[in-house]
Amino acid sequence: MSAQVQLKKQSATEQEVDQECKASKTGAEIFIESLQNQGVEIIFGYPGGAVLPLYDALYRNPIKHILARHEQGAIHAAEGYARVSGKPGVVIATSGPGATNLVTGITDAMMDSLPLVVFTGQVATTVVGTDAFQEADIIGITQPITKHNYQVKNVQDLPRIVKEAFHIASTGRRGPVVVDIPKNIANAIFDSDAVEEASINLPGYQPTLHPNYLQIKKAVSLLSTAKQPLVLVGAGVLAADASKELTEFVEKYNFPVVNTLLGLGSIAGNHKLFLGMAGMHGTFTANMAINNCDVLLNIGSRFDDRLTGNLKKFAPNAKVIHIDIDPAEIGKNVPTEIPIVADAKEALLSLLEQTFEVQDLTLWHEYLHECQEECPLWYEDDGDGTIYPQFAVETIGRLTNGEAIITTDVGQHQMWTAQYYSFKKDHHWVTSGGLGTMGFGFPAAIGAQFAYPDKKVISIVGDAGFQMTLQELSLLKEFKLPVKIFILNNSCLGMVRQWQETFYDERYSSSLMPVQPDFVKLAEAYGIKGYKVEKVDEMEAIFKEAIESDEPTLVDCRVKELTLVNPMVAPGKGLAEMIGVKKG
């Protein structure tokens, strides 16, 4: 070999080394950089083989990682974080079982339109499809339960995919996006520093945010003819951060308002125009308002069947104006007179720009007021000193002045909370609405507390649901999170038992849990203060102590076991056919 050739070769090698030094970032490092570019501050997750490179890149990174004790805990925490902060919740789990453990949370976020970006590890692309160790087709599994999903096939695509994932999750109708990252992609060398330059290219995704002006005009003219108008408000108003505009709009025209379960908090619970939650366990007044209104303005609710009851009997006299960011929701369940595809805030601002005359609504308000007076929410207290769950919720409401962030699972405790906790503020209500997920409430409270370390976060749960994710108690101690847990303990699956009592002749098939752990000792085992409350006369003092404490606390509140959630619209019935209504 001549000296010249040798020299040339050497310089080529040096060049290569130079090149490698300059851009010797791995996919994992680029991934973390991409997250930082998206402003991610906190990740909820659980490591495993396939995501080791990602976790290695996270080591000593300023992004906070919260190690949950189960992937389901991680994703529900991310949901709680997303619900109260409005920012996308970020989750990492490993391939196979790690990823499949996220399925419930992903579906829950899809049903309730919560922005989540979920990163799952995957086996190396070289063995994908061979049933390799801890391989699961998470793309196939999550396709029907995500807004969109990606598998990264080339490390060069990683920055763009991360950017697109956050964009899709947090715009339009929000929802979960899964990004599946094979291990060899995380380890691959990324050969330029193009993280910043990655641009979004989504020709098929252009959400409509601004309402059509002519449709707004039509809506206004219909509203001005209404003698019995009603505004139905769903979570879309909260997602659009439009509580202020909503309140201004209804006050301007004196329109009465009802909420869906997920819309609670969009207008203050004690507002004079607010008639309460509508639907299966809604107030009598809210349901009668829907039944008798002549124009129904739905803002950001998808007319879920738990809200509408029997569709054939839903709002029989009403012409419907439906504002929704998702065109597919308009006309899906309820025929719509005036469809308006828009972000709720934009639509409300457009409505506020218009000024129109409305009919004299005095009679309508009088009627609604009468309903409220005659048939308020009620529960019986037989005075034997046991605690009624409704009273427990009312007490929590009073002690927190309706200003705490409240999370729940699904079931009786959820409905009592919706009925008896009067929310004063928006973004303070975190519940599993569409999917109805047991085990959601407690980890969601952890996520909410991370979002707002200084706010009072209270998780009201049932004894059964709490046992599905209680391992996350560890996090309270580890991160000094002052979350308060109130278990409304009736030693059974309350709502299942209620339906068995009402519709299955009191045949309590597998719904009773006579053997329960000692929740106080359990709390203590996790290093948390626990209280047990059995009598109504000791309740207030203990609740107060628990709520005012700066520490995480658990209150095992034994409540009257056979209490029902009332009133109720039975399945297949119309809203006007409520049972369990009592004249007050």
Partner: protein, 171 residues
């Protein structure tokens, strides 16, 4: 109602699965589906025929499909003036003594012979699905050994005339 829907999609792996999965989840019954490249690089087009009960359902179908991130455009072209074609390959029992008789059936349908055996002939026939149905019914008595169809593919005609009743199946 039988509807013809075309869906323009970004050609990414899994996109067909995404669309058919959506239809399955929403309980739409697909009669036929075809997918192929278009004149644009990276863009594919699907044509499918679905049976739906009413207008509201078809509207919901179009909206749900449009929501998919990889879907660029969805069109219900049923009521437009369209060209629609399907290909069928049919292997028919055709002993020598019956061949001219069978050929006389094939001829008006403009089918062509693409393979021949001792006692069987394979025909290729192209046309709209009804034409192919009609051909199959005529040829069935002779004995069909094997049959495969591609499903319909379609787009709208350049000139949109007022749709008139179809007089002949022999288009």
């Amino acid at each position: 109602m039988r509807r013809v829907i075309t869906v323009t999609v970004i050609n990414q792996s899994g996109v067909l699965n995404r669309v058919t999965g959506l239809l399955m989840k929403r309980q739409f019954n697909i009669e036929s589906i075809t997918v192929g490249h278009t004149e644009q690089h990276g863009i594919s087009k699907m044509t499918f025929i679905v049976n739906v009960e009413d207008q509201a359902k078809i509207e919901q179908l179009v909206k749900q499909l449009s929501k998919q991130i990889d879907v660029i455009k969805v069109n219900d072209i049923t009521d437009k003036s369209i060209v629609m074609r399907e290909l069928a390959l049919i292997k028919v029992v055709a002993p020598p003594n019956l061949r001219s008789e069978i050929n006389s059936i094939v001829e008006p349908f403009r089918g062509s012979i693409i393979d021949m055996g001792k006692n069987v002939i394979t025909y290729q026939i192209v046309g709209n699905p009804e034409k192919i149905d009609a051909f199959i019914e005529l040829i069935r008595p002779y004995g069909i050994k094997e049959l495969t169809r591609t499903g319909a593919t379609a787009f709208v005609r350049d000139a949109q005339l007022k749709p008139s009743a179809q007089l002949s199946i022999l288009q």
